[in-house]
């Protein structure tokens, strides 16, 4: 099905969650900061989801980012379980778990609970299981964010099936460093939403990169 530019223009950015090693920022406002950040965020969100502790860092970052959109932006109340698509993109794939798995192999019998996370798309599965979502999903790995391509992928997802909102996750985790930039893109954006364009995506991701430093 051909997608026109007019259809593209109805997509709007309605929320941004930034996670760095030091703090979590929702729409420009720091909601939590300090040491042991991910565990502290899990506890403060009162998620009551013990499986969180078993996840690798990549999945924890993805789950927390989406949880903030749920709790603070009320996304789950606005959409059906097949109306939210999730697009995941990163540079390091599942290297954080791959390295840990390599260490485990070197030390003897590998850990099954580490091995299950040696694929980056597991993040999408964890988010879908947690939120009971059945919408579209897409996982891509690129050296750096390709704004035009991500925009095209979001456009394709938005105009496919029942999708009414997209959560774009750009999450990286490697050894002791991690960061996540999550963007909520909605089809029927509010009047205050920012039009979603490749240029706007570039601005968001570059701003996130500055927050890391």
């Amino acid at each position: 099905m051909a997608v026109t530019l007019q259809q593209f223009s109805i997509m709007k950015v309605n929320a941004i969650v930034d996670i760095t090693t030091e703090k979590i920022i929702v729409d420009g406002k720091t909601v939590i900061s300090g040491p042991d950040l991910l565990r502290s965020a899990y506890l403060s969100l009162k998620m009551d989801y013990p499986k969180f502790y078993k996840m690798d860092q990549l999945s924890k970052l993805g789950l927390l980012s989406v949880e903030y959109l749920m709790k603070i932006k009320g996304v789950d109340e606005k959409y059906g379980d097949d109306e939210i698509a999730v697009l995941f993109n990163n540079r390091d794939a599942s290297a954080c778990s791959d390295i840990e798995h390599l260490r485990a192999i070197s030390n003897g019998i590998p850990s099954p609970s580490v091995f299950v996370y040696t694929l980056p798309n597991i993040v999408l599965g964890e988010i879908a299981i947690r939120n009971k979502w059945f919408g579209e999903q897409l996982c891509t790995v690129t050296n750096s964010p390709n704004y035009a391509l991500l925009y095209q992928q979001c456009s394709a997802l938005m105009h496919k099936g029942s999708t009414k909102a997209i959560i774009l996750l750009i999450v990286n985790s490697l050894e002791n460093t991690f960061d996540a930039c999550t963007v909520l893109i909605e089809k029927d954006g509010s009047v205050t939403g920012i039009p979603f364009t490749p240029k706007e995506l570039e601005r968001i991701i570059k701003k996130h990169a500055r927050a890391k430093t």
Binding site: P50, Y53, K54, I109, S113
Partner: protein, 84 residues
């Protein structure tokens, strides 16, 4: 036997990343899977690895696994039996 059970509870909590659970909270006869501690299939594999790494015991028959991993009691009884 009580010492072995306590050690097993500590190992289960540590190995399976059950951060919200105090080892002392786990009852000896509480089912580890399903309604009890709520462990899943990956946890079962971790327990198999734990038995192999820490006690040198290999479980090759899946049917034995169901019986052995039913509770801390059954796990301790199996280790005790194989170690004696």
């Amino acid at each position: 036997m009580q010492e072995l059970k306590l050690k097993l509870k500590e190992k289960i909590v540590e190995q399976l990343n059950l951060e919200d659970i105090d080892p002392a909270q786990i009852k000896d006869d509480e089912p580890l899977f399903g309604e009890g501690l709520g462990l899943d299939s990956i946890d079962a594999l971790e327990l198999i690895v734990l038995l192999d790494n820490d006690y040198g015991l290999k479980i090759t028959n899946p049917e034995d696994g169901k019986r052995i991993f039913h509770s801390v009691n059954s796990l301790a009884a199996y280790i005790s039996e194989k170690s004696s």
